[in-house]
Symmetry: C2
Subunit: 345 residues, 2 copies
DNA sequence: CTGTTAGCGCGTTCAG
DNA sequence: CTGAACGCGCTAACAG
């Protein structure tokens, strides 16, 4: 019975046509007579024909596969991007191959190499770190690349969240609540996104007519634990912040611990704003106010751009998507007792 | 220059050997003269030769690809399984193709079909629901399958966490803290894991010499919100539970809201135990006490089993891994005021 | 509209 | 130890 192995030849024989005709109805491009097509289709279903993607890719010089480079599957930030990319790719008959940097102890280039061996037709770089390395490596291969939230000038195409708008959303929200001592907790600024968000933070402060105090900016955080201790340091300041704006939701949640440890309440006493809107922001207590980026949509768009490039269509260099402020329980009006000089705006 | 496209022919020509020889050194199987091998290797690196996985798969009738069926990438439960599987697969030169049921609106079989078209050498079914459908569909294809935490008898091979031990761990822990009114919140028992865990729960109660009260079991929960309202109903009981054991961490966290809404404290007033130990259990407040299953290792083991089957080795039908109780802040000794008749064991 | 044919890049006998 | 030749299943011209 040799189930699951029917080749195009067997279908052709069963339908009394040539393999070319079978190929035609399978791919739906060229015109085929209605009666013949029906015969072929019947044969295909009867034989449970399943086109051999490898053979197809080999012959067509197109694997219908795209690679998606991420930093870490365990980071919930990427899950939505993956989902969006997969969903959109599926619609076009493409498959997404995940390249997770964290599984490759053997160095970054092996990761890309594996994908390239698989002959991916294109690549999406969503990895937040090491994008520079990728950029260098990928530039020498002439393979289409779309970058998500990466360094604009390193890659020919990119989809980006509007960092500037995101920071403004956060700061404006806090300013409206009366906060004027707003801290920013971020990682090593070597990552382009961070530098951009930091400078956006400063710009937003300016727009809100709040003086920038470098003392309130903590850089170099890499883990939740570090975020926590950074927040603790901030709270121990002579003139501590009344609000904290973290680079991402995880670190924002890290701040929760420090705030509680200081005997304060998140929200009521110290406001906290995150960035990303990962799923667990709703589960923590209080639920985190955060700047939401439409990651699923970004994954979709990245695929669309990539496939357009593959098609040879003209594609914009960068697509900017807008973040959105999601107000939950971690922000509140500043307490009177904590309010300093310069009351009101 | 035609970079990134060096074929085996070009390498053969450059090394002045036949493609067969190149193939031999590339695959490392057959013996090749030391001098020739060196020449070939040199040519390979110089030409940046990258074996064409599709061609290789076509010729060898082995794609070196395995499919991993999951329910939802957004569910953090699967992230670790994915990671484990990918890491282990990588070691063997295999690639993991994700099959996410949630991206396929078009029905389950399309998901599997896609994977089969890709000619995956084997399949891992980690999807918690719809395993029955898969089982039926996959049985007719003769493709190796390993199941993770699924119905034992549906698939030839499986890796399972010891459900019995897990439930016992949770109940014993709570019993030791003095709890005797322990609720269980679970989903539709049509999912085999749930039925098993529920019966294990009952068995564990018995071992702890606690009477089983059907009133304290809520079935049919499917979302965090439903878990919350289920917990609310439990708390409104005439003789409410002092502890809750949830089918998974998400629903356990859902209970938090209901407990707070009732003016009670998680841990101090009502103990909560989850299952799985997903990443955010540490971020909630209080951090969740939970039964941890080694999902990354399970992913690894599943791959190992699958590859062993492919190799033709004999493989155990089922590998059972042990869960582990992780005590965090959501459990505490039962309050005196809440303690009922039958004090102590 | 349909069939023929030549590869796609590589694994694998089978000779030598 | 090495090379020649065939075929994996399919797409893409090119004829008809």
């Amino acid at each position: 019975m040799k189930v699951g192995a029917a080749s195009i030849y067997e279908v052709a024989k069963a339908a009394r046509v040539s393999i070319a005709t079978v190929s035609r109805v399978a791919n739906g491009g060229a015109r085929v007579g209605a009666r013949t097509e029906a015969r072929v289709r019947r044969a295909m279903t009867r034989l449970r024909y399943r086109p051999h993607a490898l053979a197809r890719g080999l012959a067509a010089r197109r694997s219908h596969t795209v690679g998606l480079l991420i930093t870490d599957v365990l980071d919930p930030y990427f899950a939505e991007i993956i989902r969006g990319a997969q969903a959109q790719a599926e619609l076009a008959g493409y498959v997404v191959l995940l390249g997770d940097a964290s599984v490759h102890t053997a160095g970054e280039d092996l990761l890309v190499r594996r994908l390239l061996e698989r002959r991916v037709d294109g690549l999406i770089v969503a990895s937040s770190r090491t994008t520079d390395d990728y950029a260098a490596q990928l530039k020498s291969e002439d393979i289409p690349v779309v970058c998500i939230n990466g360094p604009l000038h390193q890659f020919p195409h990119a989809v980006q969240v509007d960092q500037r708008a995101g920071a403004r959303l956060a700061v404006e929200h806090l300013a409206k609540l009366g906060h004027r001592r707003i801290a920013h907790i971020t990682g090593p600024v070597s990552v382009p996104t961070r530098a951009e968000r930091l400078s956006s933070f400063r710009a937003a402060l300016k727009e809100a007519d709040i003086a920038y105090d470098p003392e309130l900016v903590v850089m170099g955080v890499t883990t939740i634990e570090e975020a926590r201790s950074a927040a603790a340091r901030l709270l121990a300041l002579a003139d501590p912040p009344t609000a904290m704006f973290a680079y991402n939701d995880r670190w924002a949640i890290g701040c929760y611990g420090a705030i509680r440890a200081a005997g304060l309440r998140v929200g009521a006493d110290i406001s906290v704003v995150g960035f990303d809107d990962i799923v667990m922001t709703e589960w923590v207590d209080p639920p985190l106010t955060t700047v939401s980026q439409p990651r699923m949509e970004m994954g979709r768009i990245a695929i669309d751009m990539l496939l357009a490039v593959l098609r040879g269509d003209s594609v914009p260099e960068v697509v900017v998507v807008q973040p959105q402020l999601v107000v939950r329980g971690s922000t509140a009006a500043v307490r009177r007792s904590a309010r300093r000089q310069r009351s009101g705006t």
